[in-house]
Symmetry: C2
Subunit: 365 residues, 2 copies
């Protein structure tokens, strides 16, 4: 018998717990799986320790061993049904040469934001195997270390969301620069978004080849657009990304999730983008959302992240209410409606995870 190459070996690992994958594909499950956006993060003291050792957030992202360690930390504490790669959504623009850095209190910034048509035209499409090898190495190492316990989620920022940071030079309130380009020279923005869609697809495919068993596209700022601009400048490119993604590895489907924060008005349009599941923010009623999307996609979400400040029994009530609203049958992955806040008590996360596991089997009989 020939030994498979190392990558193939762990790709072929049988998952001990594939509830998350099955729920995304709307296959029968015994209970509703749960994970949490930013589950590897500052609310965990063990994360803060590694972050301090790393010296900076970027050092943590670019060191595969440390990224692997913080990815696995929440799984040691909580019975999560999936792990998510620890990384940043802005790795692609950094690999394009924009020079990502983090300023204290002001979040991510770029040394070389995109300012001119020439800047857009010279943007390269990064090769993930060289320009983003630290991410791919982290995916391989996490997959290997997980030993098939739960699936590993890869992710990227959406083309639109990456474009906002690249043009604004960092976070923004009004998105004046990216929308200025959108209103004044939409053809230039389309060139940029097309390059980003190719880059995101290639990056996610490299994560899939390295072992990611599901992928998620974070469209953090799609909700700042008008309905029409959302379809033309955000959703169109999310759809392009999906069309370029590997959908099967070794006969197993690699589900993809699309999350547009503030996108609750546009779920019908989003179901046509080819994703297996849509992430819901907490403002969207999950019962109505399910009625609107029908059998086309699974849904992920959507507890208010601020509810995790409440006492454990109140958290359990909120979990029960969301499970009840989604109702019977597969197709629901429990999550928050946005990332966990940095000062949440980890015991409250346990209350949420345990409540999902305790109360959800009734909906899967």
């Amino acid at each position: 018998m020939q030994h498979p190459k190392p990558e193939q070996f762990h790709i072929m690992t049988v998952l001990e717990n594939d509830t998350f994958i099955r729920a995304l594909l709307k296959q029968p499950v015994d209970y509703t799986p749960v994970w949490m956006m930013r589950q590897a993060g500052r609310y965990l003291p063990e994360y803060r320790k590694v972050r301090a050792q790393a010296g900076s957030f970027l050092n943590l992202c670019t060191n595969p061993e440390l990224a692997c360690e913080v990815t696995l930390q929440p799984l040691r504490r909580f019975d999560f049904d999936a792990a998510i790669l620890f990384s940043d959504i802005l790795t692609i623009p950094d690999a394009m040469g924009l020079g990502l850095y983090f300023s204290e209190n002001e979040g991510p910034k770029f040394k070389n934001p995109v300012k001119t048509a020439a800047d857009i035209k010279k943007l390269p499409i990064p090769d993930p195997m060289t320009d983003l090898h630290y991410v791919i190495d982290a995916v391989r190492l996490i997959r290997k270390t997980l030993q098939g316990r739960v699936p590993l989620i890869g992710f990227s920022g959406s083309p639109w969301t990456l474009a906002t940071y690249m043009l604004e030079g960092g976070s923004s309130k009004s998105f004046q620069k990216v929308k200025g380009l959108m209103y004044e020279q939409p053809e230039l923005l389309h060139i940029m978004l097309d390059k980003l869609a190719q880059s995101v697809a290639s990056y996610l495919n490299a994560q899939i080849e390295a072992g990611a068993q599901a992928v998620m596209l974070f469209d953090t700022w799609g909700g700042m657009l008008t309905s029409e601009d959302y379809v033309e400048f955000s959703l169109y490119y999310a759809k392009q990304v999906r069309a370029l993604l590997k959908t099967d590895v070794a006969g197993r489907r690699i589900p993809a999730i699309l999350f547009t924060k503030g996108g609750g008005l546009w779920l019908e349009a989003m179901t046509d983008a080819g994703y297996d599941a849509l992430g819901l923010d907490w403002q969207t009623d999950i019962r109505k959302a399910r009625a609107r999307v029908g059998d086309q996609v699974a849904l992920q979400g959507n507890m208010d992240p601020v509810a995790l400040y409440a006492q454990p029994e109140i958290i359990a009530d909120k979990v029960k209410a969301i499970l009840h609203k989604y109702g019977a049958g597969s197709g629901h992955v429990f999550n928050l409606g946005h990332g966990i806040l940095p000062d949440i008590n980890p015991d409250h996360v346990k209350a949420m995870v345990d409540a999902v596991h305790q109360y959800s089997p009734a909906y899967h009989k």
Copy 2:
């Protein structure tokens, strides 16, 4: 003939231009009326001059002559179909004793935020004629100075939105304190919201008595709630306010507008709150919104405020697109989907206003 008292005199002034009022009541109009949230504001050099003379934003709000002057400034430049009282949404909490002040860059703050159950229980319901007389005086003066040219809009923050500032002590990103109370001790928050609803209604009624010909409730932060919490903690009290408002003065209907930023998902519920019109943010598609609300309410909005950075011909195109989406018939007041940004070129505002007046008559034949 007896001379009417001064207030009665200007209340009885015949409006030269009642297009705005008629559109809110879905009565036939010759064109679509237009005004702009924050139309009296920093984008106008003449505003910045008066603001500098006043020494502080609060001085400007509390001085009826200066408030009147800045209210009228935009009407000298642009052909707006309504004036809106220049004031702040946080006058009520200030009158309740919280001590409003403005810190540079951080926006509004309270010296004495609400922290305890005792704080809530001792909150007074302000008497607008004494505690907020500067606002009522400003309304009277503006009405008199307007001489019936266009209607004057009075306004207040919504009970929920006021509660967020009062509990957080200022602006917030996560709304941890107000939601903490909501999740942990909802009955206390209800006591507070009930007092706020009474205060807001009494304040708006005083504005109406002083001459406001329409009123608007700004629910700036309702969109941060889950669907259920929105109905229970924001919309319920907006409805209470509406039920307490004067609806007619001297035989004329005083229309009321409800604007929940981020409320596009909840328009159906909002139509039941008794308002004549709903304000739409720019994310909400106005064609779909009209189909959803039917004949129950008029709609106000909803151009992306950032579109005003674009060149005048692009602004005109955006105006045309929104007019086309709303379609034929009355019931549309043109506006932005949120307040104008402080660094917009006033010439671009003129482009918007003129385009509304130029292209809208075709929809009212």
